[in-house]
């Protein structure tokens, strides 16, 4: 009786099929991920937009841009600083103080480290659980 060909076994094997499936999934997931815009970069762009709008005296537009920035990345120190300035301009000194306090807390570690893992645990956990109400 003829020995079954190993090649035929390889082709029909469920493990090989699954492995190919896994490879295609990873390929498409990787391509999809490459096309995504980093929310941190988006937050930075919105923060710049807010600063420009504020320099032209458009407080409402600046606030909308800053809110968008914080929605994209609630842990951005720059965005909170811009928000504090905008709130101060609009006369909300209490809100400005709150925003400045958060920006200050996010200043750890020195030099504006953008890596999230360098943030203290309690801060990170509280920001993950933070709702939109906290921003306003």
């Amino acid at each position: 009786m003829a020995k079954p060909s190993s090649t035929r076994f390889c082709r029909n094997n469920i493990c090989v099929t699954l492995a190919f499936g896994f490879v295609f999934f990873s390929l498409f997931a990787g391509v999809f991920f490459c096309m995504l815009k980093n929310p941190r970069a988006l937050a930075q762009d919105y923060a710049k937009l807010a600063t420009i709008a504020l320099s032209y005296g458009d407080v409402v537009g600046a606030k909308a841009a800053a809110e968008q920035s914080l929605k994209q990345n609630p842990t951005s120190r720059q965005s909170w600083e811009v928000m504090a300035k905008i709130l101060l301009e609009s006369g909300d000194s209490r809100g400005a103080q709150k925003a400045a306090r958060i920006a200050n807390a996010l200043g750890h570690p020195a030099g504006g480290q953008n890596l999230l893992y360098a943030m203290p645990a309690e801060l990170r956990l509280s920001f993950l659980a933070m709702s939109d109400k906290d921003i306003r």
């Binding site: 082709r11 493990c15 990873s26 390929l27 490459c34 020195a110 480290q113 953008n114 709702s131």
Partner: protein, 325 residues
């Protein structure tokens, strides 16, 4: 037919991945694509490797009428047997445990991300869903951060598979293990030499225009004027992010290859040089888990993992010896 350059090409791509991961840390916000790119690279490599192992060595089934044809057919048959052996061994054994551990860890990380601190899982989940539906909070940043980890996990599992399939080639494996072990020791000395506060902020100091490329770096280094602040270690990060469950899963995943290497040692399947290099790399990797985390250290850990995967394959798959009746 397996391409003869497959081994070297895989290793070059591995080193490229290490450099890419290290480079990512020196960039600001624009390098998130690196993780997706790594997944694309390794999926293409794994696809090529799977195709080379699963494709028959001979397409035409020429009847073996002549002696020369019989010899050629026998050669092809043995090659196919070897490919089949390597393929099945690479996907089986302790790799299944490693892959299952990886999936469990990813699942556990999602659970931890959805249920931070004291909130219950369902509360966190429902809040995320309703916030998404209302459009009040995109939460996209957290998803993106988790996506980076997911891409890295995919790349790691595919890298483990590809390097395991290459490991039975004894001669290049020996030389590659020596190279990786040397870099692992040199890297460990470097990271231990950098003090706790300096290692964490090394990337910042390098990207600072006042320091980088101005020739003033050494002076600043000696004067201790680099940016300094304590950063948590990989162990602490895991503990913060995923609790003791996550730490246990990662420890399990790390000890699957280390255990396979150790258990494979008495069977003489793996030579002592590969074994000793693997032990050196394993020790370096374990120590680096307790060093302050930085992007450069992450890249170093990936290099160590490359060596570990190679030794894992060598210990578990060994060298194929055809079974003769």
């Amino acid at each position: 037919m397996v391409a003869p350059y497959g081994y070297a090409f895989t290793f070059v791509m591995g080193v490229f991945s290490v450099l890419l991961l290290g480079w990512d840390g020196f960039q600001s916000y624009s390098s998130g694509w690196v993780f997706g790119f790594l997944a694309v690279i390794w999926s293409l490599l794994m696809m090529m490797r799977l195709m080379s192992l699963a494709t028959p060595a001979r397409e035409d089934k020429t009847p073996s009428s002549t002696l020369a044809q019989k010899i050629l057919n026998s050669f092809y048959e043995r090659q196919e047997e070897r490919h089949h052996y390597v393929l099945m061994k690479s996907m089986g054994g302790s790799f299944v445990l490693f892959f299952a551990g990886l999936l469990c860890f990813l699942g556990w990380q999602i659970f931890c991300a959805l249920a931070p601190s004291q909130k219950s899982f369902m509360d966190g989940f429902m809040q995320s869903i309703s916030a998404f539906q209302d459009g009040t909070s995109s939460n996209f940043r957290a998803v993106y951060d988790w996506g980076q980890m997911f891409m890295l996990a995919l790349s790691l599992s595919m890298m483990a598979f590809v390097l395991r399939t290459h490991a039975p080639s004894r001669a290049p494996t020996r030389s590659m293990m020596i190279v990786v072990a040397s870099y692992a020791v040199a890297g460990l000395i470097t990271f231990l030499g950098l003090s706790v506060e300096h290692a964490a902020s090394f990337s910042q100091s390098v990207s600072n225009p006042d320091v980088a490329g101005s020739g003033a770096g050494t002076g600043l280094w000696l004067a201790g004027a680099l940016y300094g602040d304590g950063a948590p270690t990989m162990f602490e990060l895991l503990l913060i992010e995923t609790g003791i469950g996550g730490v246990a899963m990662v420890a399990f995943m790390m000890f699957v290859p280390l255990g396979a290497i150790t258990l494979g040692a008495p069977s003489k399947r793996v030579d002592s040089l590969v074994l000793s290099c693997a032990m050196i790399i394993g020790i370096c990797l374990i120590i680096s888990v307790f060093l302050p985390m930085s992007p450069a250290l992450g890249a170093y850990m990936l290099l160590c993992l490359m060596g570990l995967f190679l030794a894992w394959g060598a210990a578990e798959i060994g060298v194929y010896t055809p079974q003769r009746a």
